[in-house]
């Protein structure tokens, strides 16, 4: 059984299991954590899952896990694995079922005090205008042609339909459109599941949250991002809905046979993979890009409906409440990226499963107005707790393939969480703190209780101290909308 004795304490907040631990490991397994988070990680199967990812063919340097690590299925949540092109593998389980689950942050010039008298109306409007729940249907009715356009064009398609502002795309990862999308590799099942779901929130830990900017550590950088203390911010956390789930299912199932054809043996069937330059690998990459684009379009549409909700409630009541986009990030994705390894540029397939891209200053892929400061990183906390805005760093590029954590990370199963707290009690606790809550399910609310998660502040402090992201601002919730 794995324990702290299996780890080498490389440096503060960095722990490694050497490849001698198990004969099938190709590289060390590296965890970023303080001692408390390390012990929490050892309380479920997440470290075993991290070790399993160290067996993937073509993996380079380390199998990495962030301090919000917890047990997933195949990869641990919080996992980062880079494989070397062209023959290194791509693993759909290393992206996850919710392809391009991610976060978008909008901010306003209005203060929370200004909107406070209208907060319940705003929450009601958001709950009414932004459909939520796993099987929720949106108001857009897409033809086959339009759906294919969304899969290829992502958020750009939404902008073309009049939803959003050009600046939104400039401040979205991949500018809202992952290249290489091939709708021909997306099944009919996936299209049918996704067709009616564009512009919907989903359920589980997905949410829309109205926040107060509670603390700012770097005022100059925050001002560049239009983030000011006590102002209003809005987060959207959701992904590719049923379309992404089906694409992952399709390829995980298909690769069950393929993995044997390529002579790959794995410790867990959910890690199935194929060489990236294989026919199956390229088809998955094309389909994954479609799902990613669907998710960008989804968040673009939701952002539009959020802006409409604010207009609906605040027009004529508050002077300047417009919501500007700070950034939109993905935390379930595989990307083809170039990284410097041992002094040489190498093309890699970087899998981030519950981990966020955190490119540092100077990265060519960042928009012109942000390139000198680095990529904004958005870390949502568990319900009722803080969320964070950070920036990517040069250290992240060196240590973690430009990656950092994605959230708080669960410590308690959903079943235990529902036994520990009733949804109605949690609702009253949040209300007593002045947080307005609109939730479709009390059971779902209980599953997302803050006690079911790690302390996000602790997680963020680790990545800040180790240098793989830099704290800029902290947000606190004033209204939560959930499925």
């Amino acid at each position: 059984m794995l324990g702290t004795h299996n780890f080498v304490h490389v440096e503060e907040f960095v722990w490694e299991i050497p490849p001698t631990y198990r004969p099938d490991m190709r590289v060390p397994a590296r965890l970023y954590a303080d001692e408390e988070l390390l012990n929490l990680a050892l309380s479920d199967n997440s470290i075993t899952q991290l070790v399993n990812t160290a067996t993937l063919p073509g993996i380079i340097q380390h199998a990495i896990a962030m301090p919000d690590i917890h047990q997933g299925y195949g990869f641990p949540i919080g996992g980062v694995v880079a494989t070397r092109l062209p023959h290194g593998v791509i693993s759909p389980g290393g992206v996850g079922y919710d392809i391009n689950c991610g976060v978008r942050l909008l901010v306003s010039q209005a203060t929370v005090e200004e909107i406070q008298p209208f907060l319940k109306e705003i929450a009601s409007a958001l709950y009414s205008n932004c459909p939520s729940g796993v099987g929720a249907r949106g108001s857009l009715r897409l033809t086959d042609t339009e759906l294919e356009e969304v899969l290829h064009e992502g958020a750009c398609w939404m902008l073309g339909q009049g939803y959003g502002e050009p600046e939104d795309l400039n401040h979205t990862e991949e500018f809202g459109r992952v290249p290489g999308a091939e709708a021909a590799h997306v099944s009919e099942h996936a299209r049918e599941r996704g067709r009616g779901q564009l512009g919907t929130l989903g359920a589980g830990n997905h949410f829309i949250e109205v926040d107060r900017v509670a603390e700012v550590w770097d005022q100059a950088i925050a001002a560049r991002l239009k983030i000011y203390r006590d102002n209003v911010a809005v987060q959207i956390h959701c992904g590719s809905r049923g379309l992404g789930h089906q694409i992952c299912e399709d390829y995980v199932s298909r690769f069950q046979k393929s993995v044997h054809d390529y002579g790959i043996t794995l410790p867990d069937r959910e890690l199935v993979c194929v060489p990236l330059d294989s026919e199956e690998g390229l088809e998955y990459l094309g389909a994954m890009a479609c799902a990613a684009n669907f998710a960008f379009a989804n968040r673009q549409r939701l952002a539009h409906m959020i802006r409409q909700s604010f207009e609906q409630v605040l027009t004529g009541r508050i002077k300047d409440f417009h919501l500007h986009q700070v950034y939109d990030i993905a935390h379930n994705m595989a990307k083809i990226e170039e990284h410097e390894i041992d002094g040489h540029p190498l093309r890699l397939c970087v899998h981030r499963k519950g981990a966020t891209r955190a490119f540092g200053p100077g990265s060519a892929v960042l928009p012109d107005d942000l390139r000198d400061i680095g990529q904004p990183v958005l870390i949502p906390g568990s319900m009722g707790t803080a969320s964070y805005v950070l920036l990517g760093t040069t250290a992240a590029m060196r240590q973690t393939f430009g990656s950092t954590c994605h959230g708080a990370g669960r410590v308690m199963s959903r079943v235990k969480a529902k036994k520990a707290v009733r949804g109605s009690e949690l609702l009253e606790q949040l209300k007593s703190r002045g947080i307005v809550v609109c939730a479709g399910s009390m059971s779902g609310l209980a599953e997302e209780a803050p006690t079911a998660y790690k302390d996000v502040s602790r997680v963020v402090e680790v990545v800040h101290q180790v240098g793989i992201a830099k704290k800029i601002a902290r947000l606190e919730p004033v209204a939560v909308i959930k499925g």
Binding site: Q71, Y97, G133, V134, R193, R269, E270
Partner: protein
């Protein structure tokens, strides 16, 4: 409308701890019963009782390269039908079950609310193995 005998809970299925998702250990005398009980677990996940009255019937065929793939594809096909048709399937009649193929009739009714069902059934640590009672499998469901 089709009437079924009342079923109290799901026999031969128990939930096991999983930090982020839901996991179930399912047992059956044979593959057919294992698959039936696995389908019933999905109904439980949705917070639905196993109802007697069913108004909807669908016929499906599923293939798999082995028993594990068959099990996952079976459950994921049910999820697909539920989410695209907005229906819940409380009962199933499995026919022609082999290690690689099944044909089944699903019986259920329209959902009167947004279905709180799973995103997908995974292959994580999945093995359909022999046990003293027949067959056993532990399935992790991404919710």
């Amino acid at each position: 409308m089709t009437l079924w005998p009342e079923v109290e809970g799901v026999s031969g299925a128990e939930e096991v701890e999983h930090t982020a998702d839901r996991a179930f250990r399912i047992r059956g005398r044979n593959l057919r019963q294992l698959l039936e009980r696995a389908a019933q677990v999905l109904v439980v996940l949705e917070g639905e009782p196993l109802a007697r009255e069913c108004f909807v019937q669908r016929v499906i065929e599923v293939e798999g390269t082995d028993r594990e793939t068959l099990l996952v594809n079976w459950l994921n096909e049910i999820l697909y039908l539920e989410q695209t048709h907005q229906e819940i399937y409380h009962h199933c009649l499995l026919q022609d079950v082999t290690d690689h193929h099944l044909r089944a009739q699903l019986y259920g009714r329209p959902a009167d609310h947004n279905i709180a069902s799973a995103k997908a059934v995974t292959f994580h640590n999945l093995e359909v193995k022999e046990s003293s009672e027949g067959l056993e499998a532990t399935v992790v469901v991404d919710v």
